[in-house]
Amino acid sequence: MESGRRVPNRVLLALMLAGLLAWLALDAVSLAPNRIVPGNSYRAFEIGGGWPALAMTLPMLVVAGLAWRPSPQTLRLALWSVLALLVLLPWWLVAASASLVEPEMPQARIGIGVSIWLLLFVWLLTLIELRTRLGLPRQLGWLLLLPVLASWWVALVWWLEPLSLYREYQARSDQFLAAVTTHLALVGAAVLASLVLGALLALAMRRHPGVRRAGFGLLNFLQTVPSLALFGLLLAPLAWLGARFDALAAIGVSGIGWAPAFLALLGYSLLPMVRNMYVALEEVDPAVIESAHGMGMNRRQVLLQVRLPLALPIVLEGIRITTVQAIGLTAVAALIGAGGLGTFVFQGLGQAAMDMVLLGALPILGLALVADAAISALSERLRPGGAA
């Protein structure tokens, strides 16, 4: 492979072809005079005489050319080209908004079109492909995204005020912050509570097979029930409890709000948590336990000093699944008044205000990805014999 005749990397070629087609043929941005009026759409080459669009096309052609004769050197060059594209994209948007927005339109909104969403998707796929081919560690992949994020941030804060998503954010930045806080608080509370309850349940399950069968049966059953239905079904009994007992009502227990959301989240979180904890406790090699006992450790010491450290990566995997799942489910909880980022999604859908939907949906997506990556990295680090 390394010698003279290298085979073209068809994946990169296909991705770049798709990217170029999207860039040439589909709408890149839209311009609307205000939030309500639907805007006019423009393709990339219709803006600024096409020169800014050409500047974005060249790196893609470079990547395609490099993919023709792949070697570690050319692939590394391709990686830099894609990163350059991601860094340049906000500046293309700056150029587009400078040429489209007239000074007499203070409320004008630049919307990101289908072409740019597709490009972002294609470029991220390209990054994943290049990272895999070059065998770069996952953490480095995240590090590479830092300059991209910095470039977007600078462009957004100083030059991209007309970007519709940014305008939407500015109009409700306080609400946004509160929504993120509520979202994280609900997720954190559910994950923590399920961690504690899950540990107790897993320990009880190890002692009593009856508890194990009933517990797993019930939790599997809960996991099957759709979230909207579970939120709905919890509404009635909690409303009744809140109406009946003033003490409960005083701390906010009612059919609507955090109480049903928290309970449903806890119910869904328990299954992955308990399952992983149980497996973690079961799967420790009996010989290791035996030798620990032989060293004179008592049950408690074996649990704390041998079982738990060995079980930690599997438990972390449970926490990862639970957290990612809870971030998504909390979004649904907005429907029953629990707040969080889902509020923007469902309000936006109700008002057909797509920027508002994006303002809720994109951070939810980002939170899930970041939580997933962070906990994965942590468990990689803590794995016995891993990069600790």
């Binding site: 068809r10 239905a229 709905g232 009635a236 859908l349 994006l358 899930a368 990805l369």
Partner: protein, 253 residues
């Protein structure tokens, strides 16, 4: 096939019947509640004494159930065809270049919350049934692709070698060896996909599709707990019925 069935015998047949009992029971309950909901007016009156109307009447429960099943069914069938198809394509010699990317995409994509996928489909495709089907299809693809890849990957190399040695062609190897061996894992992927889709489709009621999520959303908006319970009950029963069918199919595999 027939020889196998004959050897099952009377006792085997009985246990087979019994093992279908759970799915049949859930289906029976589902149909019973979907058809008999208006007769439960008394019970719902007790839940929701303040409202004038306690039975959701904007559409029949069977119509809502049918639409729910239709949307999930179409999306899931497409997801199965596309998901298994693409997983097979990237494990053949011709498509193997794409295997790392597809398998990474399938695992990264599963961290996307279904709600976010549904919400992002609307700006791209508009309101109504189509964006829901597309969102369910895209999201439902991931577990199927991933499990098909896992299933095909888990087949012992010796088994493939032996099949090749018997003179099987690539197509025969796939149909007679690889797919049957990977079937349980693939089926588990389809189960995950369908379960998530039933739940996500219910959220489709917020983007203009009418299905079993409708009574819940209407109930939340109007503060009518009885509506919520009706929708939640039927969605729950539908999910449990479908899940128990998969449970049954998997146990045989």
């Amino acid at each position: 096939m027939s020889r196998q069935e004959l050897t099952i015998g009377a006792a085997g047949l009985q246990t087979q019947m019994r093992s279908w009992l759970a799915p049949l029971a859930w289906l029976f309950l589902l149909v019973l509640f979907a058809s008999g909901m208006p007769h439960l007016e008394g019970a719902f009156r007790w839940i929701e004494p303040d409202s004038r109307e306690v039975i959701y009447r904007r559409a029949g429960f069977f119509v809502l159930l049918g639409q729910h099943v239709l949307v999930v069914g179409v999306a899931s069938l497409l997801a199965v065809a596309l998901g298994i198809g693409s997983a097979i394509a990237v494990t053949r010699p011709a498509g193997r270049d794409f295997l790392p990317l597809v398998s990474q995409l399938a695992s990264i994509g599963q961290t996307f919350p279904p709600v976010a996928v549904l919400a992002l489909a609307v700006p791209a495709l508009g309101f109504g049934t189509l964006p829901i089907i597309v969102a369910l299809l895209l999201y439902g693809l991931l577990p199927i692709v991933r499990n098909t890849l896992t299933g095909l990957d888990g087949i012992d190399a010796d088994v493939r070698e032996a099949a090749r040695g018997m003179g099987m062609t690539g197509g025969q190897l796939l149909r007679q060896v690889e797919l049957p061996l990977a079937a349980p894992v693939i089926l588990a992927g389809i189960r995950t996909s369908v379960t998530v889709n039933i739940a996500t489709a219910a959220l489709g009621a917020t983007v203009g599709a009418s299905n079993l999520g409708d009574p819940i959303i209407a109930g939340i908006i109007n503060g009518n707990t009885a509506y919520i319970v009706q929708g939640a009950l039927l969605i729950g029963l539908l999910a449990l019925a479908v899940d128990s069918v998969f449970e049954r199919l998997l146990r045989r595999g």
